[in-house]
């Protein structure tokens, strides 16, 4: 190896390390605050790690606060949204990928439009529509809204996964007498499982983080999701940083688990889509 190449390699590794540190440092700080005892919080504000660690904040959040309830609500909402969206967008994405039909142009246009306009615009009208139906302050109302918001993008994503699977496969099955739906279910769906996993994870993360509609549509503690619960913490008179960050760590766990599970597929799936498109 020449000297120039060694320098280039070292620079490359240093740059990667800088990115990793930048990405992880804020999360590290959340963890640090969540294990710092209250009496050391201010006196050791700038230290990288407190001289004594405790799990009191976690203990309080799990046993004496409403966060387990918020966690359960968020889990119900995000999982249901992710499963429903994945099913609907698999069907829709398959239609977009395999058929050319009258009105397809307008349907694609409509879905693109939904990606363009400010969703905050819908906050007031959706509240007005859902309120007489009894769907405000309820988890099912939230699920309904989240499913609709996530379906367009998920459909495009699924379409790109279907585009990567040769058409001959289901055509062969249909020549052998299977209906298209059977061919879709038994041959194509198993092949797109990685794509469906990616969609599932993507939508889960989106629903898990949604804040503004949850704030507007939910007012009671019973149906509060995690973001709403955490923000009500901030608006209290004195903020208990330790408890807040302990709750934050809890909110982070499912999102990160889902992310590590899908992140391999993300680049792959988008590569397949990019090659096709």
């Amino acid at each position: 190896m020449t000297r120039k190449r060694i320098v280039a390699t070292v620079a490359h590794r240093v740059a990667i390390l800088a990115y990793v540190l930048f990405a992880l440092f804020p999360l590290f700080w959340v963890l640090k605050i969540s294990v710092t005892p209250n009496d050391l919080l201010y006196s050791e504000g700038v230290r990288l790690w407190p001289s004594r660690t405790v799990f009191d904040h976690f203990d309080f959040v799990i046993r004496h606060s409403d966060f387990p309830l918020f966690f359960r609500n968020s889990m119900i909402v995000s999982l249901s949204t992710a499963v429903i969206v994945t099913i609907l967008s698999s069907l829709g994405g398959y239609a977009m990928s395999r058929f050319s039909f009258r009105g397809k142009f307008w349907i694609v246009g409509l879905m693109l439009l939904t990606q363009m306009f400010p969703l905050v615009m819908l906050i007031a009208p959706i509240f007005k529509i859902l309120s007489p139906l009894g769907l405000t302050n309820s988890l099912s109302g939230l699920i309904l809204v989240y499913v609709a918001f996530n379906v367009p993008f998920a459909t495009f994503l699924m379409q790109s996964f279907f585009d990567g699977i040769p058409k001959d496969l289901e055509e062969a099955a249909m020549i052998d007498g299977a209906t298209r739906f059977t061919a879709f279910r038994q041959i194509i769906l198993p092949l797109t499982l990685p794509g469906m996993a990616a969609t599932l994870g993507f939508v889960f993360t989106a629903a898990w983080s949604e804040l503004l509609f949850a704030l507007m549509l939910i007012s009671g503690v019973d149906a509060s999701t995690f973001p709403v619960g955490l923000l009500s913490f901030v608006s209290k008179f004195s903020v208990d940083f330790g408890q807040m960050m302990a709750a934050g760590v809890l909110a982070l766990i499912p999102a990160c688990l889902f992310f590590f599970f899908i992140q391999r597929y993300l680049v792959q799936g988008l590569t397949a889509g990019a090659v096709k498109g």
């Binding site: 990667i16 990793v20 804020p26 939904t114 819908l122 009208p125 995690f226 955490l230 988008l270």
Partner: protein, 311 residues
């Protein structure tokens, strides 16, 4: 093959009528559930929302709902906060997109080279993207807080600040708080899409160029950039619209303050609807934002077409 069957003249298609109907309606059946939801939960409220802009609409007043014409828009023209928010939106969107894109591109280029531990490095670098936006808002608000966060002390130590104060409460620089949080959170999105595009470039092109004696910079300019250009154009455009609408970080970190210096149009809409419950005024602001974004998208499409024609 499907297209051939569907397009066959009716005389030659000997399948029974019901079968034919079933196969003709198949694509609609597959896409119907998604479509019905999009229309009822997004399109209908959108139309209703547009009608609110011309009505006197506050949630707590049962006598509201009357048609008031352009009154909201007249009030809007005189609303100083709105004009400030418009300026802030441009600032917020411009810096966020530019920085996310630059750092995202560099990260994608770094991760495109094979090295030991690449999988892990990639997963860790992309991790901020999985962090819920409200949490990254709280997280960065805490880092900027001089009581529990290190950043003010570091800036003070470097001599960039005269005292370790909270950046978020400084009227002149508060906007940088949400922008930095947004950049941290959004780099992975650009890195993921650009990395995907990078990996679809055929490797033999680089080898051929290297044999011909092209320098790394020449290779980047004449192979990488042209291949990435379409992805860059689409992602930057979509991201710009998305970030202009993205109010979460601002609502969480500063709530528009101090003195509306970090209020962007999207967060102003939310404030009007959520805190003041003035749905009519909120919808009027939203319509202006929608119109501006439409103009922006049209300009981009036009620009793209002229560029393509010149080629």
């Amino acid at each position: 093959m499907t297209e051939a069957v569907n397009a066959a003249p009716y005389g030659r298609d000997r399948r029974p009528f019901l079968r034919r109907l079933a196969s003709a309606s198949e694509p609609y059946l597959y896409s119907a559930p998604a479509l019905i939801l999009i229309v009822t939960v997004m399109l209908v409220p959108l139309v209703i929302g547009i009608s609110y802009a011309f009505r006197d609409m506050t949630l707590l007043d049962p006598f509201s709902g009357g048609f008031i014409g352009l009154d909201h828009f007249r009030a809007l023209a005189k609303d100083k906060t709105f004009w400030q928010a418009l300026k802030n939106t441009v600032y917020w969107t411009g810096y966020s997109v530019a920085l996310q894109f630059c750092f995202g591109l560099i990260l994608a280029l770094l991760l495109d080279k094979p090295f030991r531990g690449r999988g892990l490095a990639q997963a860790l670098c992309f991790l901020p993207w999985a962090v819920p936006s409200f949490l990254s808002g709280l997280n960065w608000a805490m880092l900027f807080n001089p009581i529990v966060g290190p950043i003010p002390h570091w800036l003070y130590g470097l001599g960039l600040m005269s005292a370790p104060d909270n950046l978020l409460s400084s009227p002149d620089h508060a906007m940088w708080g949400p922008i930095i949080a947004n950049v941290w959170w959004g780099i992975p999105f650009f890195a993921i899409t650009l990395l995907a595009a990078l990996q679809s470039i055929p490797r033999d092109l680089y080898e051929a160029a290297a044999i011909d004696g092209a320098t790394p910079f020449q290779r980047f300019r004449s192979i990488t950039l042209p291949f990435l250009a379409p992805t860059i154009a689409i992602t930057v455009m979509l991201r710009t619209v998305w970030i202009a609408n993205f109010a979460d970080l601002i609502v969480v970190m500063t709530n528009g303050g101090p003195a509306d210096r970090t209020q962007i149009v999207a967060s102003y809409i939310f404030t009007q609807a959520f805190r003041r419950l003035d749905f009519g005024y909120a919808s009027a602001i939203a319509m202006v934002l929608l119109a501006l974004l439409l103009v922006y998208s049209m300009l981009i499409v036009l620009l793209r077409q002229t560029l393509l024609r010149e080629r």
